[in-house]
């Protein structure tokens, strides 16, 4: 399925979609969105790229196996839950927040890091499954 139009478009779409996925991830706390959808959109971006340019090119672009995102994301989510236990003797998963919201991002707290963890895991899982299946099909 290597059409010129799709290939050219996908080169521009990949960064755009990735930025969009981060946008969706960040706005999740106030408006529809969040780590899960964001992760799926990012995964779609890569899958689209793979569709147009071939799997090997996308893999070259990624440089590492997407599966590595799973432990990274899980670790990030777990640590964001563990942080209050270690830092403040609060129960697991207590929300911690910076007092002032950051420009552009909004209020930053442990929940955001948790959501980033979800985002990474979803990308990792989706790409691992799709890459694996399409390689063996």
């Amino acid at each position: 399925m290597k059409t010129l139009i799709l290939r050219t478009a996908s080169n521009y779409l990949l960064p755009l979609l990735l930025v969009f996925s981060v946008f969706i991830l960040l706005r999740g706390h106030y408006l529809p969105g969040g780590g899960f959808v964001g992760g799926l959109i990012a995964a779609i971006a890569f899958v689209l790229h793979a569709f147009a340019n071939g799997l090997d090119n996308t893999k070259g672009l990624l440089r590492f196996h997407p599966g590595f995102l799973m432990p990274v994301g899980l670790g990030l989510a777990f640590i964001s839950g563990l942080a209050p236990v270690i830092g403040l003797d609060d129960p697991f998963m207590t929300g911690l927040w910076f007092p002032e919201p950051f420009p552009v991002i909004g209020s930053v707290g442990s929940a955001l890091f948790f959501d980033i963890g979800v985002y990474l895991v979803v990308i990792g899982v989706t790409l691992t499954i799709i890459f694996t299946i399409s390689e063996s099909a």
């Binding site: 999740g28 529809p32 969105g33 969040g34 799926l40 995964a43 599966g67 236990v85 929300g95």
Partner: protein, 769 residues
């Protein structure tokens, strides 16, 4: 205190990254960790012996009463010192024993993982966290037993040990939950004050049985004992550390910890006396029939654990004293004997006691350690073993019932244990050196020094019992709920019956040692009885169980996705249909349904068209695309009913699903009709039935009075408590964040599953192995 426990875990994780630096000469440095912890715990001795109890609580899941709360009292202190002290020596010994091993770093990782888990276990004051650490010790023991993972026997033993101790772990969890529901708390210290309420509860017996099964499996009591001799497949440092000095005593620890809560009841005492009694005699007799040094030691360890269970069962102050002393005695002499055996094995390459002799000429320090340990194990004065034996006899002579039988059993056990100790500690060193071992080299300092230290301590504590009396022994007894402040440990108590029994034990034991030599003939004789041993019976049981599960799996997990879906759908239809039509008040309130708008109608028509196209099309790709249409139509319905989050997610999922299908289907051969008409009609009927049932269910849910309490709570508190305005997302990442954490873990597991199934296929050459 949390840091002290976590240190081992952190070191294990650290080794994953920095392991290669610890494979060589630096390996011995890792002994600094248990060494430092030993010093840390030893610094608490003055406080604990003056009767203080140190506790520290970290909240974990406060909503369920699950905390990481740690309590250091006499009992915990004794175990902590044993874990870190023997750990220190074993870590150092390992550096020499496994020098140059390819996976030395991995071994240290497992060892420190175990050490941390074991410390957590003996320091936990919360039953649930105790359970977690309990399981961690089983798991690390599994890794360590199976360390020589190229050897099938090792792997099998590791699996057996994990199976048995894991089985007990379930019972511990059940017991914890039961006790939690009786008392309303998981804190062990709080349970102490509810002794009467627990004993009066109708679930008392059940709770005790659960705790017993957990303790008996872990501490290798009859009939669960057989995993321990198998566990001797592990490298000797592991046998020393886990399977004689510490982990197998976790069950003893559990029983002791619960003595003030559950003890002092007839059921508790009599069961422990019987099980402990059978175990100690049974396995002491078994030890006679072994020629492998580690086999002899394994059975004598089980027997010693039996003695401890038996003493806890006696439940008197004297028995608790005896148990506290005997734990120290046994840890010192048995660890020494294991270390000595390890040295012999390492230098000569054999552990067959019939082939060993005269090794004193080559390794004098080891011989001294072995002989001193044998003396302590035999209970010959002035060793600390003598103290332990005297106290044990004293306690058994004051048993309330069946005193004669109990005394005979314990004396018999001690005689046989004396024999076992002599065979392991003295026999390899005396007599003539066989020609085959003429060129054996002497072991290095790191190997014999730990053995000597432990053996000398065994004698030192005997001569100066005040060293351990108020520091270790009495605090343990007071943790068990008895007061022993008026008692003094001493070697000499005058001429009395106990002394006479001791003399008989030593005389008969030494006679037996000269009369009965271990031989292969004896070993084969006991082998004939193997078919009625608990081990063979359990193995048969597990064999039939696996045959049954293979049958069950073949019926239900037959590998055809369509059969799985059929089963699930059929089950759902029958169950939900039965409940709905069995209940006569099926009410559907049509008045509450809102008007159907034109665009909703349009979407539904598209949806139905999509479904029909999917079912009847001849092209696979077209079916997939039509499925995508169905999914998108549903997304639109979500949008109409103000669920944008759901719509976005569904949209992305649908896109990915279609892409996935296309990627796979692209390479499949042309569409084939594999199902006949009957199957198609059956599937059609089933699908329509499911749709109808779900539709009716949804309609009925609408008719129920709605309870919006939970929804209101989230809506109200999302911004106040979690600073977010998108309630759905706040629930996902904050209110129910732990659920999400589990869900993404499950996602990762499924991805690894897909990867494993498709990528890690065995080559046909590997498959035969």
């Amino acid at each position: 205190m949390l840091a002290a426990i976590l240190l081992g875990f952190l070191f294990a994780i650290f080794l994953v990254f920095a392991g290669k630096f610890f494979r060589g000469k630096l390996a011995v440095l890792s002994a600094l960790i248990p060494g430092g912890l030993f010093a840390y715990f030893a610094s608490f001795i003055p406080q604990i012996s003056s009767g203080e109890i140190i506790s520290k609580t970290y909240q974990w899941v406060p909503a369920f009463g699950v905390d990481l709360s740690f309590k250091l009292d006499g009992l915990s202190l004794l175990f902590s010192l044993m874990i870190t002290g023997i750990g220190f020596l074993v870590f150092a010994y390992t550096a020499s024993y496994l020098r140059g091993h390819k996976y030395l770093d991995r071994f240290y990782g497992y060892l420190s993982l175990f050490m941390a888990a074991m410390l957590g276990l003996v320091l936990s004051d919360n039953l649930i966290s105790l359970f977690v650490f309990w399981e961690l010790t089983s798991i690390s023991s599994f890794f360590l037993i199976g360390f020589n993972n190229t050897n099938p026997a090792s792997r099998k033993s590791a699996l057996t040990a994990l199976g048995i101790t894991g089985f007990g772990g379930f019972f511990l969890l059940a017991g914890a939950l039961l006790l939690g529901s009786i008392t309303g708390t998981y804190s062990i210290s709080e349970m102490l004050s509810m002794k009467e309420a627990i004993a009066g509860s109708e679930y008392y017996i059940l709770a005790v049985i659960f705790i017993f099964v957990a303790a008996f499996t872990k501490s290798a009591q009859f009939p669960f004992h057989f995993w321990l001799p198998g566990a001797m497949k592990a490298p000797t440092p592991v046998s020393t550390y886990l399977h004689s000095a510490t982990m197998v005593k976790a069950g003893i620890y559990l029983l002791m910890r619960f003595t003030p809560v559950l003890g002092d009841q007839e059921f508790w005492n009599i069961t422990l006396i019987i099980v402990g009694g059978i175990t100690m005699v049974y396995s002491a007799i078994h030890a006679l029939f072994r020629t492998d040094l580690k086999g002899v030691l394994a059975y004598s360890t089980i027997s010693a654990l039996g003695i401890l269970v038996f003493l806890i069962g006696l439940g008197t102050k004297a028995a608790f004293l005896a148990a506290a002393v005997f734990i120290i005695v046994h840890a010192l002499y048995k660890a020494t004997l294991f270390l000595v055996t390890g040295i012999i094995d390492h230098q000569t390459g054999t552990r067959d006691v019939t082939k060993l002799g005269g090794l004193r000429k080559i390794m004098m320090p080891v011989a001294i350690a072995g002989i001193l340990a044998a003396i302590s194990s035999a209970g010959i004065p002035p060793s600390v073993g003598f103290l332990g034996k005297e106290l044990t006899y004293e306690a058994s002579m004051h048993a309330e019932t069946f005193t004669i039988i109990i005394v005979i059993a314990i004396v018999l056990t001690k005689i046989l244990l004396l024999w076992a100790g002599f065979v392991a500690g003295i026999k390899p060193f005396v007599g003539k050196l066989p020609d085959a071992h003429k060129d054996v080299k002497a072991p290095g300092f790191l190997m014999w020094a730990p053995a000597i230290i432990l053996a000398v301590l065994g004698i030192l504590f005997g001569i100066f019992p005040m060293l351990i009396e108020s520091a270790l022994v009495k605090p343990v007894v007071s943790s068990l709920g008895a007061d022993a402040s008026d008692y003094h440990l001493a070697l000499w108590h005058g001429f009395n019956t106990v002394l006479l029994l001791s003399a008989i034990t030593i005389a008969v034991g030494i006679f037996l040692y000269f009369f009965l030599k271990p031989s292969a003939k004896l070993e084969s004789r006991i082998g004939k009885l193997e078919f009625i041993s608990p081990k063979s019976i359990t193995e048969k049981g597990t064999h039939y169980f696996s045959v049954f599960s293979a049958f069950w799996t073949n019926v239900f997990q037959n590998g055809y996705l369509r059969n799985y879906v059929t089963t699930i759908v059929l089950f759902l239809v029958v169950l939900v249909g039965y409940v709905m039509f069995g209940n006569p008040t099926v009410l559907i309130d049509y008045r509450q349904l809102s008007e159907v708008t034109a665009y909703e109608l349009a979407v539904v028509i598209i949806l139905i068209a999509g479904v029909f196209y999917t079912v009847f099309t001849k092209s696979r790709l077209a079916a997939v695309a039509a499925m995508g249409v169905v999914g998108l139509a549903i997304c639109l319905i979500f949008v109409f009913y103000s669920a944008p989050d759901l719509a976005m997610t569904q949209f992305s999922i649908d896109t990915l699903t279609v892409i996935l299908f296309v990627l796979v289907l692209y390479r499949l051969p042309k569409y084939l009709t594999l199902s006949d008409y009957k199957m198609r009609i059956r599937d059609g009927v089933l699908s329509v039935a499911l749709g109808t049932v779900i539709c009716l269910l949804a309609l009925q849910v609408l008719a129920e009075p709605t309870n919006s309490e939970i929804g209101d709570f989230y809506a109200k508190n999302a911004y106040i408590m979690a600073q977010g305005k998108n309630v759905v997302n706040v629930i996902l990442v904050d209110f129910r964040g732990t659920d999400t954490l589990m869900e993404i873990a499950v996602l990762s597991i499924s991805a690894i599953g897909v990867f494993g199934l498709l990528k890690l296929r065995l080559k046909s050459t590997d498959r035969s192995q």
